[in-house]
Point group: C2
Chain length 448, copies 2
């Protein structure tokens, strides 16, 4: 496919940029029309690439895009999953170029969604185009692109239940993850689940003057900090009662195999600009990210946060707290356990509200599967080195659901790199990864 | 003065409302012109009331207002202190009527500054007007009104040093505090100092995806929560090294005297809407507020705080943390101790910045002083019951400085009530307290 890319390079970038220019932030009400515009644009790209049909489908939330080219029911069917929604862009002042005005600098595209997941989704459309135009297509191909991945995939979750036949497939092919680094390709053979909660601690019914009350009342911020602090003990264990009940310890052999992934602590820390790491006692950094659950506060707010100083004891303090889960942990169960625990540890002087924001389970794909092997061969050919099996720390909750609903495994061929800073200011995607990704995907179809 | 109030009631309210309509929020740059407008309006009111001169004086920050009527150098001189700046008004949606459109409901004025401190300052102007017009004035009276009390009085602090002669006086008279309740008047015979800090905890140099890094890096929010939690131990003691070194324990006798102030735990908790109180072990609620130092987080923020859910490990987390100090604790020393301690407890995986936002010392006034006795007699006559000596939990840092610079004690005749919710939405001031305050002040001059 290399030559095809060379020939069409400028057009490819123009098309990708047309997607990146649409500010499809799914969690912000104001961008609802942009979501629809982005979905529409994807159907155009699918049809231009050679799909027999492609359309925007209504859901209970943001629309999904479905497209297909079916050759023969006897041939294997690949369902390509991707998402066209992106994360919010704050803090905006840290972006070197505006998030929705894509720009190429030093061999990389900079834009929100450049990688996650418009850039990676786009590779599949172009690999498909290549196969169609060069008459190399020997699979039935279906595409499903959703607009709520960054907010929990609630709409698609419902939609797949009523469209199982439409989506029926042998494998779910996904590019929405990272490789270890640009020299050493890797394939995720499992991902973590997630439970995302929002908590509110309420103390006095109104904001109070901290001079007149300070020292005698439960300050909701201090209290929230204490409660959060207590959620992880000195060994890095999560203290939520029953949290580890369903966690399956990996065998020595499995840990050894995953341990083959190259890891340089100094390089890792330098890339983050930190001088020390932390985590659960008894596990390596890659294990802490890949095969162990964890708990992070993703946002906290309360009291006076403006300029100057206000001497207030606020009535309320809030936090968004998420837990990454490992396969076999049930997201709903964890949400219930967390809510129960968080309420139980609240002192009598405050009231606590706990709400689940979204959740999803983790999943695994066997390394011995035909799909995994085809992907491994394809990437090995493009990168000149066999990919390492790895476990992704992130969560694509919907994939576990699709796996169950469609009885097909998700295969994660991700081409993102740590340096891409997805979800952060200055998200990027290396052109080299974009094009090698296309090549790898085209080859996958050859070997699958 | 009762009859004089009856006769002029409507005009008094019109004049006060003209002050309350000016959004003189000192900490917000956008309100700079309003600050000047408010200062100007005060000079008009002083001149109309009978001051020989009154003018706006430039400072390094917001201007101060100075006015005077000097009868005879042999007569005692009273310096009235007040402030015309107000607190920010957020959260705006909780106000029943707009904060800068004063409204009377159920016998109280509702507006930002209705009590703190425009309403209470206004009482002094009107008591002065009464004494002048009814030819009862037998003191030299000076007025100093500043525009930065709510942000630490930095400008006035410098200004008094070069205007000691202008401000020379025998007593500093202030109404900027509360009484125990509307039936039982009280006079503050001491106030707490304050040290207000802002801290920033920085972990990774950029925001990270919590799935790709969660479990292996120091999350600045979790870390900040842990650090904050550790600042107060299980006995309610502040753990900052050296924090209590200069705290003087009150004698049994003093504690007993202050313990005479009526206090009903249930009533107190009901007024706040809480089911339990907390604080330093070994002290009563009133002691925890009045004679003991404390530490409160006044604001906290970090990560994603918008709608929806963003799975981010933020690069930074922030908090505004203030400590109330007791007399003899030095605000600058405490700021230094806090900064040192906070940096010392930071784990290696984060960096910490600590900045002092403002500070001021506490102070005491002897109950045996002539001024205290005059105030006690005056309020006793108006309320029909002798006022209780109390210790204020709040801080008016500038008063400790003025006490030192002018060698005159501050006397706190405060007429605010807990129900006034100063610094909060729906700040109010009871008309009855406004007018009884004027009467008490007029009588103070009779007995001083």
């Amino acid at each position: 496919m290399k030559q095809y890319i060379e020939k069409n390079r400028e057009r490819f970038l123009d098309e990708l940029f047309s997607l990146l220019r649409i500010p499809s932030i799914s969690s912000e009400e104001a961008h609802k029309p942009d979501m629809r515009r982005c979905a529409k644009r994807l159907t155009e790209l699918l049809l231009e690439a050679g799909a027999d049909k492609a359309a925007v489908y209504e859901t209970t939330g943001h629309p999904v895009v479905y497209g297909e080219k079916l050759l023969d029911p006897k041939l294997p069917t690949v369902l390509v999953y991707g998402h066209y929604d992106v994360m919010p862009v704050d803090p905006l002042n840290l972006w070197v170029s505006p998030p929705f005005e894509p720009e190429i600098r030093d061999g990389a595209i900079y834009a929100r969604g450049a990688n996650d997941d418009k850039g990676q989704t786009f590779m599949h459309i172009k690999a498909f185009e290549y196969l169609v135009r060069e008459k190399k297509l020997r699979h039935n191909i279906k595409f499903i692109f959703e607009g709520e991945e960054e907010m929990g995939s609630a709409a698609l979750s419902k939609w797949i239940k009523t469209h199982k036949k439409l989506l029926a497939c042998d494998i779910i092919l996904v590019s929405d993850t990272t490789m270890l680094n640009e020299k050493i390709p890797s394939i995720n053979c499992g991902m973590r689940g997630i439970t995302y909660m929002e908590v509110t601690v309420t103390g006095p019914k109104k904001d109070l003057h901290s001079g007149h009350y300070g020292g005698a009342v439960y300050n909701p911020i201090n209290t929230l900090c204490k409660m959060i602090d207590s959620l992880i003990d000195e060994n890095g264990h999560i203290t939520v009662k029953g949290f580890y009940d369903d966690v399956i310890e990996l065998s020595r052999k499995d840990r050894r195999m995953l341990g083959r992934a190259p890891y340089d602590a100094k390089e890792f820390m330098d890339s983050l600009g930190v001088k020390a790491l932390t985590g659960e006692k008894g596990y390596t950094t890659l294990e802490r990210i890949g095969i162990r659950p964890c708990l992070d506060v993703n946002g906290i707010w309360g009291g006076y946060t403006g300029e100057g100083s206000k001497t207030v004891i606020p009535s309320q303090a809030h936090a968004k707290i998420s837990m990454r889960l490992v396969p076999n942990q049930d997201s709903k169960t964890i949400a219930r356990l967390f809510a129960k625990h968080f309420k139980a540890i609240a002192p009598k002087g405050v009231t606590v509200e706990v709400e689940e924001r979204h959740g999803g389970d983790g999943f695994l794909i066997p390394i011995s599967s035909k799909a995994y092997k085809a992907a491994s061969k394809a990437m090995g050919e493009v990168y000149g080195i066999d990919p390492v099996p790895s476990r992704g720390g992130g969560s694509i909750a919907i994939l576990a659901e699709m796996q169950r609903a469609l009885k097909a495994d998700p295969l994660l061929m991700g081409f993102g790199l740590e340096r891409d800073f997805i979800h952060s200011p200055n998200e990027s995607y290396l052109l080299d990864q974009l094009f090698k990704g296309m090549e790898s995907i085209a080859l996958f179809y050859k070997y699958f």
